[in-house]
């Protein structure tokens, strides 16, 4: 297991053959909405640097009043779990049913808990 890979997206064979292009890097955008929730991934965009990425994120992803705070991170800086690890990473938690409140039967007479 183990395999942490340097990007959320694949390096495909097609891409490997071609010379590296001089393009604006890809950024992932995270927005925190009005109601105190965590920042949530909303999409991606291109920008020449972090400062412009924030401005672009504001213009692209908050046009409809979606948020009050923005994070951007260059896509290549994201470490991602590998799909082949899905079983070992996530299935072990399936059996820990006692972590969920519904596991415990509390009589109605006790009231809200």
């Amino acid at each position: 297991m183990s395999s942490v890979s340097p990007s959320p997206y694949p390096e495909t064979d097609e891409k490997a053959d071609k010379p590296k292009r001089h393009e604006w890097p890809l950024w992932e955008v995270f927005v925190r909405g009005q109601h105190g929730m965590s920042h949530r991934h909303v999409g991606s965009l291109h920008a020449p640097d972090a400062e412009m990425a924030i401005l672009n994120a504001r213009d692209v992803y908050t046009r409809r009043n979606e948020g009050v705070s923005l994070w951007v991170v260059e896509a290549r800086h994201i470490a991602a779990s590998s799909p082949s690890d899905k079983g070992p990473l996530y299935e072990p938690s399936e059996s820990k049913i006692y972590r969920h409140p519904t596991f415990f039967d509390i009589p109605d007479d006790v009231g809200a808990m």
Binding site: P10, K15, L26, G43, H46, P48, P83
Partner: protein, 331 residues
Amino acid sequence: MYAQMVKSTGQGVKSLDEMDPQERAFQERINRDEKIEPKDWMPAAYRKNLIRQIGQHAHSEIVGQLPEGNWITRAPTLERKAILLAKVQDEAGHGLYLYCAAETLGVSRDELTEDLLSGKMKYSSIFNYPTLTWADMGAVGWLVDGAAIMNQVPLQRTSFGPYARAMVRICKEESFHQRQGYDIMMKMANGSDAQKRMAQDALNRFWYPSLMMFGPSDKDSVHSAQSMAWKIKMNTNDELRQKFVDQTVPQAEYLGLTVPDPDIAWNEEKGGYDFTEPDWSEFFDVIKGNGPCNVERLAARNKAWDEGRWVRDALLAHGEKRRAARVVAAE
């Protein structure tokens, strides 16, 4: 639809028994409505088809800015100008979301753009028709966005995660597009004689091109069958076209406008309208580059790209300098 001429590369749809274990597991996940994510294994043909389909869809959004953009500076009131501008801006946003979805498959946005500009990749035929009067802003919103929504709503359930998520966002934003178009049509249809004529003329010109948006009949196509098995296409072209006609004819009646098809008639038996097929030779001409505006549309995109190169290069160069300065400062 927005990807009318995507031909899959498969040789016909394989049954599960004919697949190797990896491909079978992949197909079974799709059958269970699980989403395929960028780093998951996928057949090369699935990847290739998706890149083409999402790319065409994105190109259609971007080229689709042009016919409506044609009227931004001539919108008749400040409010109409703001609404139209917001709408055309949304198209740019939708193109952006879709290019990003395609990029998760290992192709870059600039590569896709260059394939559009060279004519190697296509975009929807509808955007090669001109917008001649203000009523066309109504007709495009009502008919073209109406047809697009028919296709995009089911694509929210498509098998490829990033594409499905982009479609969710797009559908949410698009919900005002068709309504603003119909709102323009209502104003025109209830307006002066000249406005009524304008509205009817717009419907006359956009009716058949809108029907063409769904693409030729594909009920016997193995390509479509493969795309449907992969759930990157959710309905046949004919199903969507029928649904569109059934929805649109009563809306035209409400406006007091006449759909330019003398043979349109309700068919009780099939529970839908009978209608005349568009002229498919015109469709193929447009796809080949001989539509009324093909040359202008591609020229406009090429001009924006070529004249924007110095800007893109300069902003990148500045960003790199800034990054380098920061590294030096940190050391």
